[in-house]
Structure formats: structure tokens, C-alpha cells
């Protein structure tokens, strides 16, 4: 989007009426999500988000004290629908589909770089690390855990399996290849992540 097109898309002044907070937040999330998924974090500034969302910089700073917090909260909401956990009753198909969507966002949009840089910076920035967990990763863990628990209830995952560990062996494995890129994130990789866990890696005859 050019700066001029942005200007044309700018929200009209709304006088002094106060919009509901939820509506204002939704506008901000939409704008932040678009910038992160189409351009990257370098193009995300409070100035620009204020202009594109019609929300004052004062309000933005009140709700999101740092660019990291603004990016993480916006990113969580931007990917919520694309990364939703469907329940067709088939955990293998549902996990594979969701992980494909996740791999696409990480490798096929600028968001992958946004997320790996935020994780990188959070290793030495305690405030950003806290924001990462509270505004993004703990929420994603909760959503994944809910779907995996339903698979347990449906008898597709054993009762004694700690589903939070599966989060590390599925999405965590993708993050590992994003953060230390010795090997690429491919479709075969995503499919195998799920089948290695569902089928186990031992030959049928070797099962105890």
C-alpha cells in the first residue's frame, strides 16, 4: 500500500464521540495484523497505526506501552482465524491442516521473521519476553491444548499423555527450524510431525 493510498483509506475524523473500546481495539488489531502479515515489523510504527486505524497515539500508548506489545497483541488477533483449531473428529487431519496453516504463515509471509525476531529479542529483554508469553504464546498453548484435550475425550489420544508436551513436539519443532534453520520447514516435515506422534516411530513388530 503506498503512503498516498493509505491517506485515502484513512478513517474520517469522528468528532469527539467516544467509540466502544472493543471496536477501537478491533480496528487496531486489523491494522497491525495487515502490516505484520504483508510488510513486516520495520513498517510497524505507532504513528502509522494511529493514522490507519483512526485511533490516537495517546490511546495506543495507553493500551500498548511498547511496540512489542502492540505487535504481539495485533499478531495474536490477526492469525486467530487462520490458526483456528477445527474439530472434525479426526485429530490427525485437523492437526495437519492447522500445522500447514501455521507453516504457511511462518514461511510464506513476513510474519515468520517478525515472530523469530521477537523471540530473539526476548532472550535479553525481560519485558518483551513477558509480553510474548502473556499476549501470544500462552494463548496459543491454551487453544492447542483445548483441541488436544477433546481428542483425548474422543479416545484418539491416550489418557496418560500430557498434551502440553505435544505442543512442543509439533509447533515447537517448527519454531526450532525457524530459529535454527539447519533444515527447512516443508510439507513433508509438517505431515511427519503429526504422524510420528500418532503412529509412533517403532516398527509394528518392535512394539512392546
Amino acid at each position: 500500500m503506498t503512503k498516498q493510498a493509505e491517506g485515502a483509506a484513512e478513517r474520517p475524523a469522528r468528532g469527539r464521540g467516544r467509540r466502544p473500546a472493543d471496536e477501537v481495539r478491533a480496528d487496531v488489531f486489523r491494522v497491525v495484523g495487515e502490516v505484520l502479515l504483508k510488510e513486516g515489523i520495520a513498517d510497524l510504527t505507532f504513528e502509522r497505526v494511529a493514522r490507519l486505524s483512526g485511533v490516537s497515539k495517546t490511546t495506543l500508548y495507553k493500551w500498548w506501552p511498547s511496540k512489542g506489545a502492540l505487535a504481539l497483541d495485533g499478531y495474536f488477533h490477526a492469525v486467530e482465524e487462520a490458526l483456528a483449531f477445527e474439530d472434525t473428529g479426526d485429530i490427525r487431519a485437523d492437526l495437519t491442516r492447522q500445522l500447514r496453516a501455521f507453516a504457511h504463515i511462518m514461511t510464506g509471509t513476513p510474519a515468520g521473521r517478525v515472530v523469530t525476531e521477537l523471540i530473539g529479542q526476548s532472550q535479553t529483554d525481560e519485558d518483551l519476553a513477558t509480553a510474548f508469553r502473556s499476549l501470544y504464546s500462552s494463548g496459543r498453548r491454551r487453544l492447542a491444548g483445548e483441541r488436544l484435550l477433546r481428542a483425548k475425550e474422543q479416545g484418539q489420544i491416550r489418557d496418560d499423555v500430557d498434551v502440553q508436551i505435544l505442543v512442543d513436539q509439533l509447533w515447537g519443532a517448527v519454531y526450532h527450524r525457524m530459529l535454527i534453520p539447519d533444515e527447512p520447514v516443508t510439507d513433508d516435515f509438517v505431515v511427519a510431525l503429526v504422524s510420528n506422534l500418532i503412529d509412533g516411530i517403532t516398527p509394528p513388530t518392535a512394539a512392546s
Copy 2:
């Protein structure tokens, strides 16, 4: 180690005789490993490594052009023995033992923070990212892959399993909890990483 104790442990001057390169490198790796495993990366300086190893700063800079390269090469060699892949013929036991040793280094020594900070910094430092892969992670991947391939030959892992993906689902899962610490790295976690893959996560009756 106090600065005084270090002074006492300092290598005597060796005159102008040239020591074999392997011996010099081994001395440097020993010193770098000790500093990283006992103190952390803030205490690792070329000055100090030169003093403790008896190797000139000129030589150090010639072989390791940056602190990151020096740290990664030293760290690889420092943990090589502790993280060796035993082969008792029982892949479950051998992997669990190795992952316990890895988890101990990551959570019980300053090296965990060293490694997560280097991974973090490598997200925006391409030279460091290259050094991380060439001096540390690709070598660790190779060693893990060799042990997992032997397990395939012994009939303990199915022929169609890509063992490099298991690296992401075992050690990568640990890195995930180190880098985004929503959940802790515990012994139960380490044991479950291995059993989820070896046993599979589906109930026996649900296996197709």
C-alpha cells in the same frame, strides 16, 4: 575462580617454540568451555581466554574472528563428551539418558542462557547465525542423526521415519521451552518426549 587464582593457573611462557595447532586449539576449547559452563558469556573475553590458555590474542582472532564464533566452537567441544550418544542397543534408554544430560546443561548451568542468547542474537545477526549452524547446531544434528540411524538398522525405528525430524521433536522441543518459557523443562518432560515418539500417543485400540 578469582582473578588471583586465575593468575596462578596461568600457563608459563613457552618461549618462541610453536606448539601443534591441535594442542593450542584444545587448550582454548577447554578454557572457553569452563568459562561458559561455570560463569556465562559476559565473562568470556578474548583477553581472558588468552591469559588462561597461554594463546596470544593475535592467534585467537585469526582462528575465531568474533566472540560468537569463539563461544560456539568452544561450547561444541566442551559439551561433546557430556552429550555423547551412547549405543547400548536400547534407543529409548539411550535417548532419555542423552536428553537428561542436555536438559541438565540447559537448565542447570549458565550454558543454557549462553545458548538461548546466541540463538536470540542470531535472528538479526546473519554472521552469528551462520556461525551457530556451522560451529554448533549442524554438528549436533549430525551426531544425533548417526545414533538414530543405528536405531533404524537395529530395527528400533521404522525405515520410513526421517530421523532429522526427530531431532526437532526431541532437542527442538527442549529449545522451544528454553526460548519461550511458558512451561518448564522437567524430567517428566524429557521422558515423555521420547515415549510419545516411541510408543505413539494413540490408545492401542485406536491404532489403525
